[in-house]
Amino acid sequence: MSAVSAVQLEKRSTSTVEAPVRETETREEEELDVPWQVVVHNDPVNLMTYVTMVFQRVFGYPREKAERHMLEVHHKGRSVLWCGVRERAEFYVQQLHGYLLLATLEKVV
């Protein structure tokens, strides 16, 4: 929001500058800023203790928090484990797939 305003202000004060290029850059930056979330989905085969251990290892969560997420997966079918930049989200999903959990990354809407 603040970046768009800055471009608009600049357009008004310097009409000879190639403003459209700056607007494109702003949109790309906004795209990159869209947060992603790491979601783990329920799977009847994976053991509850195993899933808890994986959450502790991958995200460094204390046992209580890891168990809370595990139970959310178990009862609600999914749990959002982490939210942030895409590259990091991809890294976490890769780790989770290495432990054979059903995990996806999703754009936060």
Binding site: N46, L47, M53, V93, Q94, G98, T104, L105
Partner: protein, 162 residues
Amino acid sequence: MEISRTGEALQISDLDPFLAELLRQIPASTNSEGAPDAEARLFSRPSAEKEICTEWRNYVEPELRRLFRSSTQTVAEDLAQLNGNEKSLRNRGLTIPFEHADAWLNALNQARLVIAEKNKFSDEELNDHDRSPIGSRRDLSLFQVNFYGFLQEFILREMERG
């Protein structure tokens, strides 16, 4: 069968030939070839976005395949202790170095997922731990999933103890 921790190893002793055979089948049970649903479960889609899935198949999936193969190979090497005298009715023993615990957890999980997917077990079946393994091939597969789960639970408990 008895299972315990001795220093830096897990000891499975008094292992009867039936359970020894189930253990020997772990590496083969991880094989998802010719079973598209099992393959899809081991290498599940990371996203609903096509572009991410394409990149994943090219760069991440080969890494995952290497990891899974490496775990299975470690387990197969440990299981070599059970080779020879397969037809003997004598009980056996197996020593698993504790540093192989992660590989065992991974291979056991691969095997459980592949067997469950190939047999399309329902939630009710997976929670039925008292079913006899003698009834049918399907019952035996379910017993296998539960037995491997029991081993995973033991390994996890020992990992927690440190």
